[in-house]
């Protein structure tokens, strides 16, 4: 909750939150709104339609057909007038309509001579903007047209609110990921998470505590918000065990505890979680890890040889009480570790034979950023159907600094 007001009234402030969430629309999202405005131009036989949002002293056009989508000064717009009038507004000839005839757009070339709008409201009933159709000629607009406009306006309202909600959920999830790479002595850690939907069931996490690096990656069965909620819980539970792990707690036992705590939630949701959790003592290179059915972790040595960091344990929530086990390795100078979700497998030519290409990628890359960049390029080329998440831990060769 904002404790400092920006001077806007409570209505404007609430409206502003929705507008800002919708404000940064990517191409795919904008297409969802364009579909409605495009349909309106066909249904009413008009050249122009827009979804118009009030944004402080401006109006913005998350979707506009037949007209420029650049923001405009609020006072110069039909939208501002119609919001002041309230409800659905129809002006069959704007030039003779005292409510609109002084607007510059009415006298522009070509002129905006017909205007009809339906208000778009947030869940509290505050007007966020309008769904509008326009024509360069005066025209009739009968009762059937008005009903149709109201229907399409209601549809646009649902889409705008859904996009705002998705965008906020996405932001919330992104804010839980580590915000910056770790660069400590000869160690370098970084990760990416590209959800297939706005929010996803994958997460990665890393943190440094007393020269001990914790890193983990989890993949919750399913997709979208439901999976994201479970993933968020898992991450917090694992973070709360960091200190105990630094002081020697066995990672297998940590996962046993985690499963005890999460089993009933997972059972009710009909879900389970595959995850990898590792800790490295940065002074010695001693690596401890546990793998709960993720199976997608590679340790690539400085000479290019590699091994899968597997554990043989089941995913969390499949057979509660089956037990998890800690394994140990040593990460030497020049060694690298990659942990990733199965969405990455979809990006490979042969997902069944993933170790050689990923080991080669890890071995030949300049640094973690380069590894993640190459994975991201694959994701852009192949449009993954599942979340793509990856985490890289590198120990630089001896004698080489950043």
């Amino acid at each position: 909750m904002a404790l400092v007001s920006d001077g806007l009234g409570p209505v404007d402030e609430r409206r502003q939150r929705v507008v800002e969430s919708v404000g940064i629309l990517d191409q795919a999202h904008q297409e969802r709104l364009d579909r409605i405005t495009r349909m309106a131009t066909v249904a009413f036989g008009v050249p122009l339609a827009s979804i118009t949002m009030l944004d402080g002293e401006l109006v913005r056009f998350p979707s506009a057909i037949g007209m420029e989508a650049r923001p405009m000064a609020r006072r110069d717009t039909f939208c501002d007038r119609s919001v002041r009038i309230g409800g659905s507004v129809v002006s069959r000839d704007t030039l003779t309509d005292p409510r609109f005839r002084d607007l510059a757009l009415v006298h522009a070339d070509p002129p905006f001579r017909f205007y009809a709008a339906h208000p778009l409201c947030d869940p509290f009933g505050n007007v966020m903007g309008t769904f509008c159709v326009y024509d360069h000629e005066p025209r009739e607009f009968d009762e059937r047209d008005q009903r149709l406009l109201a229907e399409m306006g209601a549809w646009a309202e649902v889409e705008v609110l859904a996009l705002a909600e998705m965008s906020r959920a996405h932001d919330a999830q992104v804010s839980m990921l580590p915000s910056a790479p770790i660069d400590r002595g000869s160690w370098h850690v970084d990760g990416i998470c590209l959800p297939a939907l706005s929010v996803g069931g994958d997460y990665f996490d890393y943190a440094l505590e007393d020269e001990v690096l914790h890193f983990g990656l989890g993949d919750v069965m399913g997709k979208g918000t439901a999976a994201a909620l479970i993933g968020a819980g898992m991450r917090v539970a694992l973070r709360s065990a960091h200190l105990a792990v630094v002081h020697g707690a066995d990672l297998g036992l940590v996962l046993d505890r985690l499963e005890q705590g999460a089993a009933s939630d997972l059972d009710r949701a009909g879900s389970f979680v595959t995850l990898f959790e590792g800790v490295v003592d940065l002074t010695t290179g001693n690596l401890r890890y546990a793998d709960a059915g993720l199976g997608l972790a590679l340790l690539v040595r400085a000479d290019g040889s590699y091994e899968q960091l597997s554990g043989g344990d089941l995913p969390i929530g499949v057979m509660p009480g089956s037990g998890f086990h800690q394994h140990e390795r040593t990460v030497e100078d020049g060694d690298r570790v990659l942990v990733f979700s199965d969405g990455v497998l979809d990006l490979l030519d042969d997902p069944d034979d993933w170790m050689p290409p990923l080991a080669a990628l890890l071995h030949s890359a300049d640094d973690p950023r380069d590894v993640l960049g190459q994975i991201m390029m694959l994701a852009i080329d192949r449009t993954p159907v599942d979340d793509v998440t990856a985490l890289v831990v590198c120990r630089r060769p001896a004698g080489r600094s950043a």
Binding site: M221, L294, G295, L314, P315, D352
Partner: protein, 111 residues
């Protein structure tokens, strides 16, 4: 969309055969199909995966859910004839420990 063939053989064992991709959409159908068999008293179920070309975590989830409900009802769920991709997924997740692939549908409940 995946097609489902659901039948019960002479020994009273339910046989479900998903065809095509077993993902988020079709996983729900598989859950329903197994749940209906178990609720109707057919607690031994074989999922024949010979025609399942792709299995993701949702599909795996449906198999686990079916396994749990069948065992709770005193029966079991077994999988038969998985394709290479399905074997890979089962191996990566170590789920082949609880869902050991069987070579045939008819012999899935032998031993």
């Amino acid at each position: 969309m995946t097609d489902f063939d659901v039948r019960t053989d002479a020994r009273g064992i339910g046989i479900v055969t998903p065809k095509g991709r077993l993902n988020m959409v079709s996983a729900k159908q598989l859950r329903t199909a197994v749940a209906e068999l178990v609720d109707a008293g057919t607690t031994k179920v074989v999922v024949d995966l010979a025609e399942t070309t792709f299995l993701d975590s949702s599909g795996l989830g449906a198999l686990v859910a079916g396994l749990k409900s069948a065992r709770q009802a005193g029966g079991d769920l077994r999988i038969a004839r998985p394709t290479q991709q399905v074997v890979t997924v089962l191996g990566l997740t170590n789920m082949d420990k609880v869902l050991r692939p069987r070579e045939s549908v008819d012999g899935a409940f032998d031993g």
